[in-house]
Symmetry: C2
Subunit: 285 residues, 2 copies
């Protein structure tokens, strides 16, 4: 009988999965097993530490449910989600991807170009606009802009029972020039939820839970690859230390303060207001 | 602003946790982050595969609860639990450790040396005995033997509402010669639970879920390091391919069939019966 040792157990596990039919699944599982075993060997993980790891996963499972996925937040705060985003970003250019995060909801209300999302919301008025284009610079009409963001209190609508449904979320089709525009309030920096295992981990790691302020976008158009991304305020105090590693240089832009009343009047917002201009470039499929 | 890329994001995450106060936690987390990132880069994990991984963890959390921990089973079936056992086995000798598994319960009934656990159980009568010793060979009196095993249907008492409480589990103190003995029924090979995410994974990997038959033991004595281990029937058809990689050469022994009625009479069991002799060696603390 072959004796299992620290030196041969990894190969024994790899051998056990050699019957995996799907070649890609076999490749991924083999790599995962090798790296997890290497980690355990490298640190000579103790039984107590193994139990701590199992407890982390168990508690993360217990706090998760239909409206909260603490595994996604774990992946986000360990930089894994962003790494996957970077790996899968379009190598030929176009808008860079960034984390989807846990607050996206499908089917937000449809509005027209130029819509006012401010309603009764508190916060600083902000006009956001831009063009959706091909990599060659051609405008894309009828591209779908799907937006979600925090209110001034740092909470998304689906975290906050005080906010009306669809608050500061919308979908909009670009016009014939590929143009989109809406008035909203300036998003604010906020903390990821710290009342679960991720909060315990961040605390252990001596880290804060802040994300720099940003607008979330999912942009899609027929014949093009979707992009899920975030548009950050480059002046945010947390721009260099996003708790989930979502910031890219190309996604951090000026949120410019405009004080001319005539400009405010032109956009139909109170003065002063902020102006955000961001163009999306989509890869053809 | 530093741009996050596939080349530098891992270091950025490591830098984010540099404030970790506990040096060991920092070492373990750093290694875990490096290995998880290396895995993602090595296979160039896709967004769909990332979602599959998140779904696996989420579903594993949802099926887990006070009486079932699918994360432990995941660790077991990926050979991680056994690797941790091997790493933490006593380097100076003594009985090798093997997986605790999910079926241990604290506080099983106390019985005397020579106890009959068979009661009304179906199955093949088996007499198990041995000595608990120091590494130097001295018998250890009043060592605690804690035993649990399957019934003939392949289920542990806490998996099976048909079995009486404490069925085929017990605790026993060794006598002045360090000796323990009990009559039981021969454990059988059985499948780990396949009705959850682990079952889906094993199926994808073309693996079976069988474990070779074994007796679980936790042995402890004042002034000595506990050992949690399993004693396998070396003739079991799955001895070379345990689904959770628990078998060690030193733990796979003969379950010898004895057909002399006088021997059966001596032990007070029906004839024929099986005889299992296994000594435990504990390291002094």
């Amino acid at each position: 009988m072959k004796n299992l040792t620290e030196g041969n157990i990894t190969d024994a596990v790899i051998k056990a999965i050699e019957g995996t039919q799907d070649a890609r699944a076999k490749e991924v599982m083999t790599s995962l097993i090798r790296h997890l075993h290497s980690f355990v060997k490298e640190v000579q993980l103790t039984q107590d530490e193994w139990e701590t790891a199992i407890d982390y996963l168990y508690n993360t499972g217990q706090i998760s449910g239909p409206t909260r996925n603490e595994f996604v937040l774990t992946s986000d705060t360990l930089g894994i989600s962003s790494l996957v985003d970077i790996i899968n970003s379009n190598p030929d250019g176009g808008t860079e991807a960034s984390v989807l995060g846990p607050f996206y909801i499908e089917g937000s209300k449809m509005v027209e170009v130029g819509a006012d999302l401010i309603g009764d919301s508190e916060g600083e008025p902000t006009v956001v606009s831009g063009t959706v284009r091909t990599l060659g610079g051609e405008p894309i009409a009828d591209a779908m802009i799907d937006l979600w963001q925090t209110a001034a209190n740092g909470l998304y609508e689906n975290q906050d029972p005080e906010q009306p449904e669809n608050n500061l979320r919308c979908r909009m089709l670009t016009n014939e020039d590929g143009y989109y525009q809406f008035s909203t309030i300036k998003p604010v920096s906020y903390k990821v939820p710290t009342d679960g295992p991720v909060g315990v981990m961040l605390n252990l790691q001596g880290r804060h839970a802040w994300r720099p302020s940003h607008l979330h976008f999912k942009v899609s158009a027929d014949g093009h690859r979707n992009v899920i991304t975030e548009v950050f305020d480059e002046a945010d105090e947390y721009i260099e230390e996003d708790a989930v590693f979502g910031v890219r240089k190309s996604l951090a832009i000026p949120y410019t303060k405009i004080s001319e009343p005539s400009e405010a009047e032109r956009f139909g917002v109170p003065s002063p207001f902020y102006r955000v201009e961001f163009d999306f470039e989509l890869e053809a499929l």
